[in-house]
């Protein structure tokens, strides 16, 4: 580990004479193993860039463009600001003036590497719970930097290096090296067997008796050995390796440094060297050919597992950016709904409905696409719950629009669809959105029933809350008796009942799952409690209304408080960081949660007390 850091500092990277001309589309669909699954290199590149920088593109470059540069010509990207540092103190400690910036380049951090390493070693000794945010950030940067450095070295085997320069023409002839260009690790590695007889011959003799040729053979061989020692456990696992009846994917360095090489594997490593070389020389056609040849060779050998077969599907999914399209259309639908209220024309209303449907289509398609790639029910992580709840709220909005025909449903659908997809996008920056599930969640049946029910319940309550907002706004201008308010209240009732049924069913199914997998129906676990709170609150609202303890306005305000409870059950419980359901959380999202709860409370205070009273009947 420490050696790798030193090596990085020693080598440095001199940018080569290189032009930005090569298109890397042919690399996008190469299968890579990461996080326990097979994914296209395109996804891998996005994940890495997200992990380092919190964004999925950099400048005009896509993540894949950036990754190709980092792998093949690392010197060209070392001044790009890809390293996100959330605490300025960390950069100050490294001797870099952070100013207002949050992203820094490798070149900026490079001089402080030794210092960073030293501080990180200290921070590692502190228990995770006791680490300060700065220490956590320090470790995150340290981790990201080592991964960055590993990626930068991942294709060093294909680069010409002076360690492998051969001076004597005799040795060049023995090795059948092409004249002119410098040699890479791989060039020599592939020809190493030709030197074995010389090596055997000198083994027994004293170095002072070696000839110049023998000396050079010895030097080159020991360079080979040292390089393979220093380049262990590097990414990118893109070569399938069969053994012990199962398949594992290894990186080219694993093939070369760990002595795993069979003739096929060597050949594939050589193909990758061609890919890298043609990329560096800017030869598009040769590059495309080499990449295609590598892909064919790998796909021929790889076991046709679900992961491998679905790589093209996932690549297409990445390229289509369905949710991005949905977001735009939801925004338009929302505006159209608002316009519909102002101008009250039928065609405006219908246009709003049309836009909502047009937005929901890619949204639904995206969810189905994800299910097909993963072979799982729609939700296996927090990110996916936002996609799903968003879609359900939109569909509920459309149902309401069908019955009420007053733009309310469109506004609800457009607003909620856009908001929830935006929140989902925040969550996607946390890592692989199609990651593998841990053993305890590995049950498609329960993921499909309990999780779907409970999130439909969330959706019902959120939709009721949106209707509550609309009601309180309407109540500022009209009295309770007005037909518009009555119809909004009816929708609210229906949505809340819908939310109650599904929350209850989902909560109980969760109990059944718990009973099936660890033997107790109910254990007051935080997530169970969160779900219970939703059920209790809905039940409380209905009973309070029934007992005339609250009026319609109370019901509307109550439904908004319901949204706060849903937010707590959905996210707040994860924030607590205890229990079986906490899947991790970040402080930025916690802040977002508190802000949205604050806004909801302010909204109630700003609207509910000022509702228009019925006009007194003058005698």
């Amino acid at each position: 580990m420490i050696m790798r850091w030193l090596l990085l500092v020693l080598i440095g990277w001199a940018p080569l004479g290189w032009s930005d001309a090569v298109k890397v589309d042919k690399l996008a669909g190469l299968p890579v193993q990461e996080g326990g699954r097979i994914m296209p290199l395109d996804t891998y590149a996005r994940l890495k860039l997200l992990q380092f920088s919190g964004k999925s593109t950099i400048g005009d470059d896509t993540a894949l463009d950036w990754l190709a540069k980092l792998l093949f010509v690392p010197g060209t990207v070392e001044s790009l600001p890809v390293l996100l540092v959330n605490h300025p103190e960390v950069m100050e400690a490294l001797g870099v003036d952070p100013g207002d910036r949050r992203r820094f380049s490798f070149a900026e951090v490079h001089p402080g590497l030794a210092k960073l390493h030293e501080m990180a070693l200290k921070a590692y000794e502190i228990k995770d719970e006791e680490r300060s945010p700065v220490e956590k950030e320090l470790l995150r940067l340290h981790h990201n930097l080592s991964q960055y450095a590993e990626l930068a070295q991942a294709f060093q085997f294909s680069e010409a290096h002076r360690d492998f320069d051969i001076a004597s023409d005799e040795l060049k002839t023995i090795l059948e090296l092409p004249s002119g260009t410098g040699n890479s690790f791989l060039d020599i590695y592939l020809r190493a067997p030709r030197m074995s007889s010389t090596l055997e011959a000198i083994e027994q003799r004293d170095p002072s008796e070696w000839s110049a040729l023998e000396m050079e053979v010895y030097q080159v061989s020991s360079s080979l050995y040292q390089w393979s020692q220093h380049h262990r456990a590097l990414p990118v696992p893109m070569i399938p390796l069969q053994g012990h009846g199962q398949e594992d994917w290894v990186s080219p360095w694993d093939v070369l440094a760990l002595g795993l090489a069979t003739p096929e594997l060597r050949q594939e490593a050589a193909m990758l060297q061609d890919v890298a070389r043609h990329y560096r020389s800017g030869n598009q056609l040769e590059f495309d050919l080499a990449a295609t040849q590598f892909e064919r060779s790998v796909m021929k050998r790889a076991q046709p597992t679900r992961g491998v077969l679905h790589v093209p599907l996932e690549l297409r999914y990445n390229q289509l950016e369905l949710f991005y399209k949905s977001k735009l259309l939801y925004g338009l639908a929302f505006l159209c709904g608002l316009a519909g209220i102002l101008v009250n024309r039928r065609w405006v209303r219908l246009a709003g409905v049309g836009l909502t449907i047009a937005a929901a289509a890619p949204h639904a398609l995206g969810i189905i696409w994800r299910m097909m790639i993963m072979g799982r029910p729609p939700m296996t992580n927090l990110y996916a719950t936002f996609l799903f709840v968003g879609l359900v709220v939109v569909l509920l909005g459309l149902v309401i629009e069908w019955f009420q025909r007053n733009n309310l449903g469109t506004i609800m659908a457009g607003f909620s669809g856009l908001t929830l997809l935006l929140v989902a996008a925040r969550f996607s920056s946390q890592g692989d959105t199609m990651g593998v599930v841990v053993a305890v969640l590995d049950s498609n049946f329960w993921l499909a029933t309990h999780v779907v029910c409970i999130t439909i319940g969330y959706a019902g309550c959120v939709a009721a809350g949106v209707a509550g907002h609309v009601y309180l706004l309407q109540a500022l201008f009209r009295t309770e008796e007005h037909p518009a308010l009555r119809s909004t209240m009816k929708s609210l009732y229906g949505l809340l009942a819908f939310g109650l049924i599904f929350s209850f069913l989902g909560t109980m199914l969760g109990g059944v799952w718990a009973d099936q997998s660890w033997g107790r129906f109910w254990g007051w676990d935080p997530k169970e409690n969160g779900a219970l709170l939703i059920v209790l609150w809905c039940a409380l609202l209905f009973h309070a209304r029934l007992g005339n303890m609250i009026g319609a306005r109370g019901m509307a305000a109550g439904s908004i408080i319901g949204v706060i409870i849903v937010i707590f059950a959905w996210l707040g419980v994860n924030l607590l960081g205890v229990g079986l359901h906490s899947y991790g959380f970040t402080s930025g999202l916690a802040r977002g949660m508190w802000i949205s709860i604050g806004i909801e409370l302010l909204f109630i205070l700003a609207t509910a007390p000022f509702a228009k009273r019925p006009a007194r009947v003058m005698a």
Partner: protein
């Protein structure tokens, strides 16, 4: 119902007990408890939160102000529900959906009470090749005495919950009585290598010291000092520690008795042998993909092999065994731990959930139909 009963039923107090405002009040209290209890878990752990908020009659705020506990609120809700149902069935037009929902909830609360009072949870850890028919409680301990010889051992055990110093425990029909000198629910034990312990101790422990109870009760290790008496024997002071590797042997006359402090043992009506534990990881990661245990089960004279895995427990006569965790030694030995539960009310939540959901569907569908009819009538009236 006769007139007097009807009058009593309709009296203000009784009606209030069964009223909707009380329901709302109880639901609000339950929400507060749930929220509070959830936050409490962050600092104090799940078990403490359950004890303090959910299975208690009262929560003491700052030690002096009582706040109704989960047991009390749920109990009142149960009476409230029951009364409401009687009221509705006797005096009001019948709404089948509503009746079903509330009957279902009532069954659920009853099921919860049964599980709370009669359910048992324990665990069973087996190394590969090992066989057992007794499971151990997680954090309840017992003082056990048994005759050392013979294959069949009659064990006499006394629950150590709240053992007061000075109490004398009889282990009849054995001649042994034990007086408690000191007992700690959680303790630290100290060995003194240089000199022998003043007590009889299986691990030559010379001193114990009470320690604060842990957040997770599973982590508590009790210890105690006891005076063991028997006819024809000098009273002996023994020191027992929960982590003793072997029980203490006490010779009484011609017999030898074993005495030990151990997690309460619960016999099961089946004999289980772990043949193989299997763990699968997602490739290239440390994320577990699945755990499973291949076991041989002997019960009712039949021996069969089966696999217990996550989400696939073994059920036998009210007992359920779940794959819970595992251990590995560096030399490749594996052990598997099963959670064992015995709960006669296990099916009640299933039944009640079905009834409630059906009731909700019936009720809200009826409302929807009513609403749709009214709307159609209004439209017809307009046209």
């Amino acid at each position: 119902m006769n007139k007097a009963a009807a009058t009593w039923w309709k009296s203000a107090l009784v009606q209030w007990m069964f009223s909707i405002p009380l329901t709302v009040f109880c639901l609000a209290l339950l929400m507060i408890l749930t929220f509070w209890g959830t936050l409490y878990q962050v600092e104090h752990g799940l078990y403490a939160a359950q004890e303090k908020f959910f299975t208690s009659w009262a929560v003491w705020v700052l030690g002096v102000i009582p706040f109704p506990g989960g047991k009390l609120v749920l109990g009142v809700l149960m009476i409230n529900l029951l009364g409401y149902m009687i009221n509705m069935l006797a005096f009001q037009p019948l709404k089948p959906g509503i009746v079903m929902i509330h009957a279902g909830l009532l069954i659920m609360l009853i099921g919860g009470a049964i599980t709370h009072y009669y359910g048992e949870e324990s665990y069973l850890s087996l190394w590969e090749g090992e066989t057992s028919n007794v499971s151990s409680a997680y954090h309840e301990w017992e003082l056990a005495v048994w005759k050392r010889d013979g294959a069949m051992r009659d064990v006499l055990a006394i629950d150590t919950k709240g053992l007061p110093a000075g109490e004398t425990l009889s282990f009849a029909p054995t001649p042994i009585t034990v007086e408690v000198k000191e007992y700690h629910g959680n303790a630290r034990a100290y060995q003194n290598k240089s000199e022998p312990s003043p007590y009889l101790s299986a691990m030559n422990i010379s001193r114990i010291e009470g320690a604060p109870l842990r957040k997770e009760p599973v982590e508590n290790i009790p210890a105690g000092i006891f005076t063991v008496r028997a006819p024809d024997m000098e009273p002996k002071d023994v020191l027992l520690f929960g982590d003793d590797t072997a029980p203490l042997i006490i010779p009484v006359g011609d017999e030898e008795y074993s005495i030990g402090l151990r997690q309460i043992r619960r016999p099961m009506p089946l004999l289980i042998k772990l043949i193989d534990f299997r763990k699968e990881l997602h490739p290239g990661t440390q994320t577990p993909k699945s755990f499973s245990s291949l076991v041989e089960v002997q019960a009712d004279g039949i021996t069969r092999q089966l696999t217990i895995s996550m989400n696939k427990p073994l059920r036998h006569r009210g007992y359920t065994l779940y794959q819970q965790s595992y251990r590995e030694t560096p030399d490749g030995k594996e052990s598997s731990t099963f959670a064992v539960t015995h709960n006669i009310g296990r099916l009640l939540p299933y039944v009640s959930t079905g009834i409630v959901v059906l009731g909700m569907i019936v009720h809200f569908m009826a409302m929807l139909v009513k609403h749709a009819r009214r709307q159609r009538r209004q439209r017809e009236a307009v046209s």
